[in-house]
Every structure is written in structure tokens, then in C-alpha cells.
Symmetry: C2
Subunit: 240 residues, 2 copies
């Protein structure tokens, strides 16, 4: 389901993602130490699983290219998507509690991730306090992101959730240097709906409505934000 690749070039210290990923806030010297930790990448085809619930946790994963969804699943087959992750973001931060994965991570397109082994990280920890602190920040950031999602689900109407979703994707892509206005949704309407606690029909209706009202332009999964400020106003502030 996935292919392991030994890293030979373009390590952390020279990676284009730089501050957008694990090395954030680390000195160039510390980044070169980091290069020694990350020796491997994994390449996933569209639909491929990075890990499944129950797997032993030996590493966390930094997305180098592509995108991944993470979802909780229960015995009855019920699914809840908990995140859509983009390059620079770290996958597998839940699961550190018992060192067992609780989520299922699936590639939404061809995706490459850097393997950050926990044992390597713990081995270097005493010599690299900045890594411990950065890792702690990443965990805390994930808590904040998840709490924000809670506020979105608890406080916003369906149209506000869809608008907030578009803006969130837009801003994260913009931070990566892509266009904030024009982008391609890598996930289906059903996946967006599941993520937002709505049905796919409701998502589709609001996207169509936004397009009809001139807020966005839509061609299948291609989105162009025509009036981002109007979307922002619609989404309001769900405690952010």
C-alpha cells in the first residue's frame, strides 16, 4: 500500500517547506541535527493508507507533498473525518497516548511524507531541546485546531460552516505559497460534509448558492474565491 524511500537529498535543512514544518524556530545548526533523524520517506498513491487504527506507533509523519485525511472509525463502520492535512503539517499526533494509532490516515492524492521516528527523536532530545519544544508546540497547535473545529460544529449554521471551510483551506494554501483565491478541493462533497457534520447535499447546495450569488466560482472541484471578504463576514467568528 505504500513505498518506503531512503532519503538521499533535500533533507530538512534544505527542504523548501522550511519554517512551515517541523524545523520551525530551530537554528540552522539544529536543523542539520534534524537531518540525521529523518532518514526515510513514504510515498502513497491516491487512496493509500499511511496507517490504520490499532497500528503500533513508531513515528509521526510530516507531509512533504500531497494531502491526507484522518478519520476515526468504529466497529459499526461509522466514520468521522477529523482533518484534512496539507504539506508541512504533521500526521499521527493522536496515538501517542498508548502508542497505538486511533485514526486511519488516507492519502487524498499521490502523497509523500517524511518519517520522524520517535526513538530517534528521543535519542537526540537531550542534545536538542529546541526539538522537544517545537514538538510540544505542534501538539498544542493540534489541540487548538481540534477545539476550533468543536466551536465550528457547535456554533455555526451550515452555510457558515461551508464558508469557513473554504476560507480555512484558502489560508493554509496561501501560507504554502499557493494562490489563496484559486485552488482544487482534493476531497469529495461527501467527505466535506462528513467533516463539517453536514450531508453532502447540504454542502452541494451551499456551494451552488455561493456560486450563484457570485461569492465563488465553481467547476467541479475547482474553486475560485471571488469575494473572500464576503465569505469571511458570512462565516463570522466561531471563537477565533
Amino acid at each position: 500500500m505504500h513505498k518506503r524511500i531512503t532519503v538521499t537529498s533535500d533533507r530538512c535543512s534544505t527542504c523548501m517547506l522550511g519554517d512551515l514544518c517541523l524545523p520551525l524556530g530551530m537554528s540552522q545548526r539544529d536543523r542539520q541535527v534534524l537531518d540525521q533523524i529523518i532518514k526515510e520517506r513514504i510515498r502513497l498513491p491516491k487512496g493509500g493508507s499511511l496507517f490504520q487504527a490499532g497500528d503500533a506507533v513508531t513515528a509521526v509523519y510530516g507531509i512533504r507533498s500531497g494531502s491526507i485525511k484522518t478519520q476515526l472509525e468504529d466497529a459499526s463502520g461509522q466514520v468521522q473525518i477529523t482533518g484534512f492535512l496539507l504539506p508541512g503539517e504533521i500526521v499521527g499526533l493522536d496515538g501517542l497516548l498508548q502508542l497505538r494509532q486511533v485514526s486511519h490516515a488516507v492519502a487524498l492524492e499521490t502523497t509523500e511524507v517524511c518519517v520522524i521516528r520517535l526513538d530517534e527523536m528521543d535519542g537526540l532530545a537531550p542534545h536538542l531541546p529546541s526539538l522537544q519544544q517545537q514538538f510540544r508546540r505542534l501538539l498544542s497547535k493540534e489541540i487548538g485546531r481540534s477545539q476550533q473545529m468543536t466551536a465550528t460544529l457547535a456554533l455555526l449554521r451550515s452555510d457558515q460552516r461551508v464558508a469557513a471551510f473554504l476560507l480555512n483551506i484558502s489560508q493554509r494554501l496561501a501560507a504554502l505559497g499557493y494562490s489563496a483565491e484559486a485552488f482544487v478541493l482534493r476531497m469529495s462533497r461527501a467527505e466535506i460534509g462528513n467533516y463539517l457534520g453536514l450531508t453532502l447535499e447540504t454542502v452541494s447546495r451551499w456551494l451552488s448558492r455561493f456560486a450563484r450569488d457570485g461569492l465563488i466560482r465553481l467547476q467541479q472541484r475547482e474553486v475560485t474565491l471571488l469575494q473572500p471578504q464576503a465569505l469571511q463576514q458570512l462565516a463570522g467568528t466561531a471563537c477565533d
Copy 2:
């Protein structure tokens, strides 16, 4: 708003909470090292603030007795309660990203917390790897808890959310050695509703209905679970 107390007795190594709090999985020797980190407690009256959004983060806090709610607030006064925390649980794990609090933490009753200073913790980290790992587990646990909340809001009907809420409180109190069947809700109907993404009327209606159907007994905020297994069946599994 709060009173600082220097710790003179009943430190981590002898605290009754023991494995239910920070020291989980640490050796008795390591716990005695932990005693040196935690030198202070804070006592809060009902309604008192432990910290507010924007405050500098210098510590996280272990609840020793009482209970605390944490909530996100935005400029327009919109509030979203993100958690009700019981003894043994750690407050302030969000906020480590920028070392600024993002939430407002308020005591639901007279509450005492142990101050776990970050600088002390980082100072001892190299000599105490078990603390780093335990702290990482706690952060990961909080991610899992928050994701579970997302699933609850996205997947469950209002009656299922209320049932799941009662069972959650029950189980956490049982883990502390209290009765799983009979307990007092420290928060108002409005706070429960906010937390669950419902109105206080809906919460009240379902509690009344559960009581009328013989699933629980209700006297103001005193709850007795008469048929916990029926509640469990009602709540179903929101991906857990």
C-alpha cells in the same frame, strides 16, 4: 481572584491522585524528582479565573480538587466551552503553541490546582525522560479527547449527546473512586448545552425525558443513573 499556596506536604510522590495525574507511569524515584518541580498550588473560589485568553503561559495546572471549565471566547462575546475538567486532569495544554493562553479557565466550584512550571520542567527534562514522555502522552490524550468531541457533535442526535455526556462524567468520576451512578453536575444546563452544541431547553427536555422514562433520577443537579446500559445503547458509538 486566586490565592497562591506554597506546597509543604502531600507532594506528587504521596498524592492520592497518583497514577491518575501527571506521575502516571513514572517510577517512585522519578516522582520524588517531580516533587521538586511542583512547589506551589493555587486555590480558586467558585467562578474564579485560573487564566484568561491572552495571558502569558508559564505553567500548566493539575487539578487537585474541584472542577474547571475551559472556554474559547471571541471579540463579539461568543463563547464555546471546550471542556469540563476533573481532579487529575491537566489544564492549559492549549496555549503552548505561542505561550499565550487561548482559553479562559473558570472554576465551577472551590478548586485547588498544582502549578507545573514549564521552565522547571524543561530544566529537569534531560534527567527525567519519563516526564517528557508522559507530558507528550497527556498532550496526545487531549487531542484524542477533542477529536472525540468533534465526532460527538458531527454524528450524534441531541438525545444521544446528552446521554453520552452523562456517561462520560460518570466514567471519569468512577475512575477517581467516586460513585459511577450518583453524582452532582457542577455546571448549569446552559453550560452543558453550550458544550454539546445544543440549547439549554433541549438539554433540559432530554434530562426530564430520561427521568420520566426511568433511565435516570433527577433532583436539580443531582443525577442518579438507573439504567446506565440503556443510556450506553442510546448514545451508541460516536467512533469510540
